[in-house]
């Protein structure tokens, strides 16, 4: 293998193609063959391809090997190299450098046995075949040159994920890549950092009528984002998808914002495939049996919520921040219609602070209401809404509150009311 490639092209290729092998999941792998898990496969022929995979994520990035793309292939080939070391070296080179990669093959491959001295069962192959090293040379305009060498292994030892259409399963939908990043930026906060069933740390993608919604919940609140219909090409399945927020975020970061993303789901292997012209990704999905544990958004969208009040986003945010100093978890919200007044009272269980009370004016207030809501729950929603005015809606049973901006930007937020006996006497008044 012999190839010359511009540093910025190679760095971008690694930022995308090597992302799976650079995940903690791969880098902290302690299995016998971890050396291979931490490696990426580089293939040079008519295309320049970088691919890596773990059980959670697999990525394949391909660009045509043409001079106008900054790639010149002098000799075709394929190698497996350690992802982290290779990426770090490439990133350390100057942006205008030209990087030469040449495979120097050993006459006889060297067998590395990670289990040397430990008896293994017959037929179990635990050897890693080192086929040589890749010699790296980086030259930039200042004629500075840097050289390095990295061991490389037999690529046939690492089976990469196939992105052939028969492996991808059913096509679900196609959306603009920008919509995915927007959706995640708006709803990721309402998920839990970790859930052992991977329900509450995941994004649920559900179809409701002809719209596509991205949703997260930690059971106490739920954030929804409706993908603008103009950003959707086709919704071909009614079944919901459930994908880890972190994995989807990584996929969003490496996808090309200008292009569309096609989502497929292979039910047999419980994996979601995401495709773009140059990049193919496979992400682990939540177990089939657990997908239904995520609430159906229909329940929220079809529930009747009546407008309670409209208020200034900045004013409400300031009041909430004051209350959060006393109790960030819950506060009593008292709406008085004849005075168009909202009083927020926070009492703490920690007995360190005196109760905090703030008063503010609200618009369009139709009824009197007293309810206990999570202070941070509301602050989190106000960070996402960009409109000057926010609307608070409540259902008949008053068990939750719906918050949205005055203009419909697709973001909807629901928070459960809290039962806190500390406020019982205030509620009774």
């Amino acid at each position: 293998m012999k190839v010359k490639i511009k540093q910025n092209v190679l760095e971008e290729a690694l930022n995308k193609g090597a992302v799976a092998a650079l995940l903690d999941d791969a880098q902290t792998d302690t299995s016998t063959m971890s050396l291979l898990v931490k490696s990426i496969k580089i293939t040079c022929n008519k295309s320049f391809t970088i691919e890596g995979c773990t059980n959670l994520m697999a990525v394949k990035y391909t660009i045509p090997a043409k001079e106008e793309n900054g790639i010149t292939v002098d000799e075709e080939g394929c190698v497996l190299v350690p992802a982290k070391e290779f990426t770090n070296w490439v990133k350390a080179q100057s942006k205008d450098a030209q990087i030469g990669i040449v495979l120097s093959e050993l006459a006889t491959p060297e067998i590395i046995n990670p289990l040397e001295g430990i008896e293994v069962e017959d037929g179990e192959d635990v050897s890693i075949k080192k086929i040589g090293s890749i010699k790296l040379v980086s030259k930039d305009s200042s004629k500075t040159a840097r050289k390095w060498e990295l061991d490389c292994y037999d690529p046939s030892q690492r089976k990469m994920v196939s992105f052939a259409s028969e492996h991808k399963g059913t096509k679900h939908f196609e959306i603009k890549a920008k919509s995915l990043s927007t959706a995640l930026s708006k709803i990721a906060f309402a998920s839990l950092p970790k859930d052992y069933e991977h329900v509450l740390d995941s994004v649920s993608i559900q179809k409701y009528e002809n719209d596509l919604f991205f949703a997260t919940t930690d059971t106490k609140r739920c954030a929804l984002y409706k993908i603008p219909p103009s950003d959707i090409d086709a919704i071909e399945s009614d079944n919901p998808l459930l994908i880890s927020v972190n994995l989807l975020d990584t996929a969003s970061k490496i996808s090309d914002e200008e292009n569309k993303l096609s989502f497929y789901y292979n039910e047999d292997i419980e994996r979601v495939f995401i495709s773009q012209p140059n990049i193919e990704m496979r992400l682990a999905s939540t177990e089939k049996g657990n997908i239904k544990k995520f609430p159906n958004i229909k329940m929220l969208l079809e529930k009747d919520y009546d407008l309670l009040a409209k208020t200034s986003r900045i004013g409400l945010n300031s009041d909430l921040i004051s209350c959060a100093l006393v109790n960030s978890s819950s506060a009593l919200f008292s709406f008085t219609s004849d005075k168009s007044m909202l009083v927020i009272k926070a009492i703490s269980d920690d007995s360190k602070y005196k109760p905090s009370v703030t008063k503010s004016e609200v618009n369009s207030l139709s009824i009197n209401l007293k309810a206990v809501w999570g202070v941070t729950h509301l602050i989190d929603a106000l960070k996402i809404i960009k409109d000057d005015m926010v609307e608070l809606h409540i259902p008949d049973n008053k068990k939750s509150v719906k918050i949205k901006g005055e203009d419909d930007d697709g973001f909807l937020y629901f928070a459960m009311a809290i039962n806190n006996p500390k406020y019982a006497s205030d509620l009774d008044e």
Binding site: E116, S329, S348, I418
Partner: protein, 412 residues
């Protein structure tokens, strides 16, 4: 299939952490509700209140486990207030994971502060208290009762005498006792006998103690080894006994290092180790005999009179040099490896952890391996003396473990 999640609530669990964890697991097994864990020390009381005051979408059920209880009055008052509020959808389990709630071994009563808390908790309608005992309560009759009750769960009976014997062998740690009882109950007769205990009790008999501890040392993990050592000390093992175990362990490593240094390949070091301490050496160290031949030939020298005869006739040692011991005095015996696989341990440790990827035919490496073994043996020997006559055995034991788990050859 839906599970029966009708355990009464609130629940307060305290006492032995191992058993308490088991209590939590059995509660978890009996519920389909979402299990949320909160810490009364690091989570704010307000956030616990919020969690306990919020049901999920579709009014789903939830269990909130509150652990890490701080020794603070406002936290105690808060917890009592929290559990006093009934909610059909939310169950609360309080686990004293930091063992704040202790009983006085003499009076068998709680200390005043937490006793008040337990009393208030008990008064709450529907409250359930799971007392798993604690280390102070491990002494005396409670410990025997615990063993008897644990066996009874498996429909086995054990006498007080046998229960005492079990604690002598296993120690006083309830977690270790229960772990042993669960294993023994599988094969035990309905009435546990003294012989059964002697044959099957595991962790802290000298041989198994050696195996357990040295297995951890051979992993080269200092933190885990120190943790295990502390666990043995907590279950009332003598530091001196542990230090002797460590010394014996490094002595086997020294022997294996020497054989390797002297030119034996790793494959034959094992036989050499297994033959050590066996009499007569002339037979056991003769490579022309097979193991079974060695066994047959040495059979006739088992008796002490025959040993003397052998040493007199074959080795020329005069009879007057032998002294007859009083009948009850224990004969000193050379140390031997009890099982084949014990010989693999020092070899595997030296080969994989100490030598690692270094060239195995390099004389410098061989010299370093032997030097390491000698230095560590002398160091542990010195520490053993300090433990016997010194004042800080824990520090000495930690230093021993630090030395034994040191596999950096460049320092020797």
């Amino acid at each position: 299939m839906s599970k029966n999640d009708d355990f009464s609530t609130p629940v307060l669990i305290f006492g032995d952490p191992f058993l308490s964890k088991n209590s939590i697991i059995s509660l978890k097994k009996n519920t389909d509700a979402k299990w949320v864990i909160m810490s009364a020390s690091s989570d704010t009381l307000d956030s616990i209140r919020m969690e306990a005051g919020t049901t999920g979408w579709e009014d789903s059920k939830k269990v909130i486990e509150i652990n890490d209880l701080p020794n603070r009055k406002n936290a105690r008052d808060f917890l009592i207030n929290l559990v006093s509020t009934r909610n059909d959808l939310i169950k609360i389990v309080i686990w004293d994971s930091t063992e704040c709630i202790k009983t006085n071994p003499k009076t068998k009563s709680f200390d005043k502060t937490w006793g008040e808390f337990v009393k208030k908790f008990r008064d709450i309608d529907g409250a359930k208290i799971v007392n798993n005992g604690n280390k102070e309560a491990n002494r005396g009759d409670d410990r025997i009762d615990f063993i008897k009750k644990s066996f009874k769960r498996f429909k086995k009976e054990i006498s007080t005498e046998c229960a005492n014997l079990l604690t002598d062998i296993v120690g006083l740690d309830r977690g270790m006792l229960l772990s042993d009882i669960e294993k023994m109950a599988i094969t035990a007769p309905p009435q546990i006998t003294r012989e059964f205990i002697l044959e099957n009790a595991f962790p802290s008999s000298k041989q198994s103690l050696l195996y357990n501890l040295t297995d951890m040392l051979d992993s080269g993990n200092y933190e885990e080894s120190v943790y295990l050592m502390e666990r043995f000390i907590q279950s009332e093992h003598n530091p001196n006994q542990l230090a002797e175990t460590f010394l014996r362990h490094v002595r086997w490593q020294l022997a294996a290092s020497y054989f390797w240094y002297a030119g034996s390949p790793w494959s034959s070091v094992k036989d050499k180790l297994l033959n050590m301490g066996k009499f007569p050496a002339e037979i056991w160290h003769d490579s022309k005999y097979s193991t079974s031949q060695k066994k047959t030939l040495s059979e006739k020298y088992k008796d002490s009179n025959d040993m003397v005869k052998y040493l007199n006739e074959k080795e020329g040692i005069l009879k007057r040099y032998f002294k007859k011991l009083p009948p009850n005095k224990t004969k000193p015996r050379a140390e031997r490896l009890a099982h084949d696989f014990w010989a693999d341990k020092p070899i595997s440790f030296l080969k994989n952890k100490v030598v690692g990827n270094r060239p195995s035919d390099d004389p410098t490496v061989k010299r370093q391996v032997l030097k390491r073994a000698i230095s560590i043996y002398l160091f542990v020997n010195e520490k053993l003396t300090e433990i016997r006559y010194g004042t800080n055995p824990m520090q000495d034991l930690q230093e021993i473990i630090k030395a034994i788990t040191n596999t950096d050859l460049s320092r020797f």
